[in-house]
Each structure stands twice: as C-alpha cells, then as structure tokens.
C-alpha cells in the first residue's frame, strides 16, 4: 500500500480494463516521473472526453454533437441501417468504405452471464427508429462470437414481424472474433456477402 494520491491513482488505474495491479502501479510511477505538462495533457484529454463527447441521440455512436457525423451526413443512405455492438465497431466498418447507410449502436451484446438482456441494450430505441424512419433494410453486424450471434438471432426474430428486410453479415469472419480486430478486407467482404435472414 502506498499513501494518499499515489495509492488513489493506482486504484483508479487498476479499474481500467486490461490493467492489473502491477501495471497500475507501473503506470502510476511513470506518471509521477513525467513532466507536469505531459501529465496535465493526459488529465485534460480525459476531462474533455467526458465533457465534449457524448452519444448520438439517434444511433448511440460517439458524437461531439446532438447527432453524430454519420447521422448528419446527407450523402448517407437513410434506408439502410447497420446494427453494431459498440462505437468502435462503427469505426471498423467505416474504414472498409463498403457501407453507405447509417448505424445503430446497441451498447453491447446479450449475455446472461453478465446480466445483459435485451432491456440493457438500445433495442427498444432500434424498434422505435424502425417505426419513425423510412428504413428498408437492417444489417446485423454484431460480433461473430456466441453472444453476438445470439443477439443477431434475437433481433432477427424480433424484427421479423416488422416490414423490413433483415440480413446478417457473412460469416467469413473468424468465429470467436471481434469486428474491431477483423482486417478491413475480410470485414469488407463480410459486408458485401451478407445474407438475408
């Protein structure tokens, strides 16, 4: 145990994903050693993140405005909606340049082990959008792992009753994978080869 601010920082850092107690300690002592200016830049970036970045009111992507860059872009096709788990998946798909529609970010995947059911995700809002917007096709691009597949299959079932075409991105992606780590070519191919549910 260290005292005061050092221990506080170690504890805060230790709460970050992928940071164990040892790494937290190393990071804390690193920050103690760096220039004040460097440390302040980091602190400011974190504050700014929380002040300036919020979630798009329409699609729940990260955004600096009420609506995100994609939702505000008039060149995007509003009739096609791509459903993803996290904002970082939007980034991954944008990089492929294969998709010209808009997004809907669920905020995770269904996982009973983690206590995440449909109510914990932005599924209600998705259904509402299908009622309000003129959407003809929904592409389910949840991760190709067990929880992502379950989420897609649940949504497929749920949306069947609605007047909309539902497709799932092709599973050329490695099973157990993560969209974020799929390379652009594979992900692009997965998009053009999506199949209707």
């Amino acid at each position: 145990m260290y005292e005061g601010p050092v221990q506080d920082l170690i504890e805060e850092l230790g709460r970050l994903p992928g940071v164990g107690p040892k790494s937290a300690q190393r990071l804390a002592f690193h920050l103690l050693a760096v220039d004040r200016a460097d440390a302040e830049r980091l602190a400011r970036a974190i504050v700014q993140l929380k002040e300036r970045v919020r979630f798009c009111a329409r699609c729940f992507n990260v955004s600096e405005h009420e609506e995100c860059r994609v939702c505000r872009d008039p060149r995007r096709d509003p009739s096609v909606l791509c459903v993803v788990e996290e904002p970082r998946d939007v980034q991954a798909i944008e990089k492929t340049g294969e998709f010209r529609g808009r997004y809907h970010v669920l905020g995770g995947a269904i996982s009973p082990i983690d206590g995440v059911g449909p109510d914990q995700l932005h599924i209600r809002q998705l259904v509402a959008r299908l009622g309000e917007e003129d959407i003809g096709e929904v592409v389910l691009a949840t991760n190709p792992n067990i929880e992502g597949e379950a989420t897609a299959s649940y949504l497929g079932r749920l949306l069947k009753a609605m007047d909309v075409r539902v497709s799932r991105i092709a599973s050329g992606l490695p099973v157990g994978g993560d969209l974020e780590y799929a390379d652009e070519v594979t992900l692009g191919r997965a998009f053009s080869g999506r199949r209707e549910l």
């Binding site: 269904i110 009973p112 449909p118 109510d119 929880e147 597949e149 379950a150 299959s153 649940y154 079932r157």
Partner: protein, 396 residues
C-alpha cells in the same frame, strides 16, 4: 510417426533427463515411484497439451522450480523431423515452440506429436461416471480433428449462458423472451458435437470389439462369445447402436431431435435452473456380451475393455494421419499370461510403443530397456537382439 528423443527439465521428479527412443518397443523399468509414468505423461502432454493424471499443471513442475520444459524430436513418414517444445508455466500461459520457432498460440504445437496412452486411470472409462466416457470421446475427437476443440468450447460457452439465463429467470431477473434464442444456439452447437461423437462411436466399435476379442481370445474356460458392444445414449432417451457401416445422422436432424428433447424437459429446466438436455448429459454405453460392463464386468474384463478402447483409439487416429506412438503404463502386470502374450503380439506391429513395468519379466517383449531410478535414467541395456540407443543421460 515416432519419437526419437524426449528431454525434460524440471518436470515432475526429473531435474534434467534425456531419453532416446528407438523404433519399435522400448521398455522403462524401475521400482515404484521412480518416475516411469512421469515419462509417459510428458510424452502424452506434448501430444495433447494436458496431463492424463491431473487437471492443473502445477503438480507437473518439479517441487522448487517455477516452470518445466518438455522437448521432443519426432520423425515422420518420409523422414521429416520436427522438434516440439512446451514450457509448462502454471503461473501464466504455457509457451510452445515448433522447430525452435515460438508459436503465438500453444495449441498450434499440439497434435504434431500423436500418441495414445493407456494407464491404470483408464479403468475409469469403464467404472467411472458418464463424464469420464464423454471425455474419452471428446479427447479422441480433439486429437483427430483440432477443430472439434473450438466446437466444444462454443457449446460449453452457450451452455453457461443458457444456464445463467435459466437462473436469471428463476430469480425473476431476466425475462423469457431470450430463451428461444439460447435454445437455438444450444441445439445447433449441440448437434455438431453429437454428430462427431456418434461418428467416433461408429468408428471405434469395430476396432474395439476386435481388440477385445484378440486380447481375451483363447482363455479356454471362458465364454468366448462375449463381444464388446457400444451404444451412444442421447439425453433425449434414444440410443444409437454403434455400427461401422451406419452413416451419421445429419446435424440438422440431430438439432431437431435435441430441440424436441429440450422441449420435453422445459418444466424441469425452469424448476432446477439448468439445461437438462444436450450432449453434456449423454452417455457412452459399454457392454460385454449382454451385460453392461459397469457393475458387471470382472476386474480383468474391465481392464481388458479399457485397453481395447485405447487400442481402438489408435486405429481411429491412424485412419486420418500419422501413426500414433502407443504408451502403455503398467499394463502387463495386470494381465494373465495369455493376454500378456496376445497384447505383446499386437505391440510388435506398432511403429513405436513405450511400455513401463516395475518388473521387467512381466513384459514379454524384446526391445531396449531404460532403468528409471529416482528421477534419473541411470542405466539401460539393449535386449538380446537390439542395439538400443537409450543411454544414460540423467543427472540427479
């Protein structure tokens, strides 16, 4: 394939040891608790990435050491040589090298060395619970086709999710609307396992019956018409009789059968908050003659049946690739003279077989002997007809 050399560092009671193995039969001899089984365990670990005796790796590392290293050079058809090295690190992730090249995933180094091990623990195949027999099938499938491992992991993950959901339902934390989705996932992944396991049972049945018949054959006063039978009993209540000529039901059919089975136990599942149908509740029935082996077979019969299953595994593995090395731990001492002789006959047809025995005279096989003493290979002598190459290397 065959193993040319095994090197151990800080594995079990070995500080450092090297064992050179010839083709054909090699015998490891020594009194109890000297390290004979440890050598077979190490070889088998290099093949499957786990011990046949313990579920965790900590006991494999010599007391006082942090990690153990297992290294082997194997020779394959056509003369190709591959060196596989595993560093067993109970405190972290294991490290694997193939031909000196560090592998990003340990599992990429597994399956290169192929082995079939028969050990006293295998009596559990006959005596133990259904889980022991399911593991037998799963381990064989995994060795035959590494992709089976991914399928099984997927099934286990789905099972955990579905059980969590059932617990959430019972506690009123989650709603029923997700249950059909997880049932879909369960029956789809479950059907993949079922198809593979039924195929394995079909493939094993013939060789297992033949091996058993072969072993017990001419014991004159015994009823010889007692053949080994195998059946795969699904959690749905249906049994699939092993038949090498029968095709495997299509996964889609099995999925529908499983779906019906899950529907049948729906009420009990909600009540007990656990998944009650699926390959995690299946059984491999083993019979000798008309009787179930479990509970009826004599000690010798159980032993012979378990051995027959391993010998059959060898055939099933050999069908799809390199011939596996056969490792026989303390087998001969348990068999009567006739069975010893017939097992020995079969062993001479194998590319390589490593046998352990506390008493050399129990092994009616020619071949180089290595003497195992307190974690060292202190002596070795070639048998009459063989200039065996196992020599003294160990240091205490």
């Amino acid at each position: 394939m065959r193993v040319e050399r095994l090197e151990l560092v800080d594995f079990r009671n070995y500080r450092h040891a090297t064992l050179d193995l010839a083709p054909g039969v090699s015998v490891l001899v020594g009194p109890n608790a000297q390290g004979k089984t440890n050598l077979l365990e190490a070889l088998h670990y290099l093949a499957i990435g786990g011990s046949h005796r313990v579920a965790t790796d900590a006991p494999l590392v010599r007391t006082g050491a942090e990690t153990a290293v297992l290294r082997t050079t194997a020779r394959f058809a056509g003369g190709r040589r591959v060196t596989v090295e595993l560093e067993v690190r109970p405190a972290g992730r294991n490290r694997a090298k193939v031909n000196g090249q560090l592998q990003s995933r340990t599992r990429d180094a597994l399956g290169i060395v192929r082995s079939v091990l028969f050990a006293p623990e295998d009596l559990q195949l006959v005596r133990g619970d259904p889980g022991d027999r399911r593991r037998f099938l799963d381990d064989l499938l995994l060795q035959r086709r590494p992709a089976y491992g991914a399928a099984r992991q997927e099934y286990e993950r789905i099972l955990r999710q579905r059980n969590a959901l059932l617990r959430g339902l019972r506690a009123g934390r989650q709603g029923t609307e997700m249950l059909p989705t997880w049932t879909d996932a369960l029956v789809r992944a479950g059907a993949t396992l079922l198809a593979a396991r039924i195929a394995a049972v079909h493939a094993l049945a013939g060789p297992a019956a033949a091996a058993y018949r072969d072993l017990v054959a001419t014991a004159p006063e015994q009823d010889i018409g007692r053949d080994v039978t195998m059946e795969y009993e699904l959690s749905t209540g249906r049994s699939v009789t092993a038949d090498p000529h029968a095709g495997v039901p299509a996964p889609a059919e099995l999925a529908e059968e499983l779906r019906a089975g899950v529907a049948d136990v729906a009420v009990a599942e909600r009540d007990r908050a656990m998944t009650l149908a699926g390959p995690h509740r299946d059984e491999l029935f083993l019979g000798v003659g008309d009787l179930p082996a479990k509970g009826f077979a004599s000690h010798g019969e159980q032993w012979s049946l378990a051995l027959a299953l391993r010998l059959a595994s060898r055939e099933v593995l050999h069908e799809v690739g390199e011939e596996p090395v056969v490792l026989l731990d303390d087998v001969f001492a348990e068999l009567d003279a006739g069975r010893r002789r017939r097992l020995a006959d079969r062993c001479t047809r194998f590319e390589q077989v490593v046998v352990t025995a506390a008493v050399d005279d129990d092994v009616p096989l020619e071949g180089p002997r290595s003497f195992v003493h307190a974690g060292t290979l202190v002596a070795a002598w070639p048998s009459a007809d063989d200039g065996g190459s196992a020599d003294e290397r160990g240091t205490g």
